[in-house]
Assembly symmetry: C2
Homo-oligomer: 112 residues x 2
């Protein structure tokens, strides 16, 4: 089974089950992983609030988890999921809507 770090956490990457787009990255503790396995919807551990957080609990934009992959050293997960709406709280489809370059941040598409 997955291994949690000294803070009781592991990294969880949410990837769109159909398009492969990375939608968000968050942390899970054992409670969040169990809630995800039990419900089929992604739950995380909020480090800032120090508690269980169901993605979409207020927005309704839940993530229906299709498959969970674990890495070689068992401290990171990939959740393949189907999102019920935009994943980012900004309304963007993915939280990764900006690009880093040597000079700073650019919105995706600005330099394309």
């Amino acid at each position: 089974m997955p291994k949690f770090d000294a803070a009781g956490l592991l990294s969880a990457v949410v990837q769109h089950a159909e398009t492969g787009e990375v939608l968000m990255v968050a942390f899970m503790d054992e409670e969040a992983l169990q809630a995800t396995l039990d419900s089929g919807e992604a739950h995380f551990h909020s480090r800032s609030r120090g508690k269980l957080w169901k993605k979409g609990e207020s927005s309704g934009h839940v993530l229906a988890v299709q498959e969970i992959l674990v890495d070689c050293d068992q401290d990171a997960l990939v959740l393949k999921a189907l999102p019920a709406g935009p994943t980012c709280h900004t309304g963007a489809r993915s939280c990764f809507y900006r690009r880093v370059d040597g000079k700073g941040l650019a919105l995706l598409g600005d330099s394309e």
Copy 2:
């Protein structure tokens, strides 16, 4: 620019630039991000060894970074990269070669 947490780290997800497969997840500190930006090859911070780690420094299986995306709260990165060989130290193409189910771990493909 990206924000590092209390431990000086952020999460970095490596995604194959062509296939979209998630290859690995690791942590970066400011030194690792700068080394990645400067060299174009992925560098991370090893939490266990407490130092900069160039992916592929011994195996030769470096990751040529094509693009770096940052998330809404600027504490996670997606590195779109082209790998020079298997990314996982086990020889697997991706570190995510096993699936979690309610009962434990399964190798990908075993239950397909």
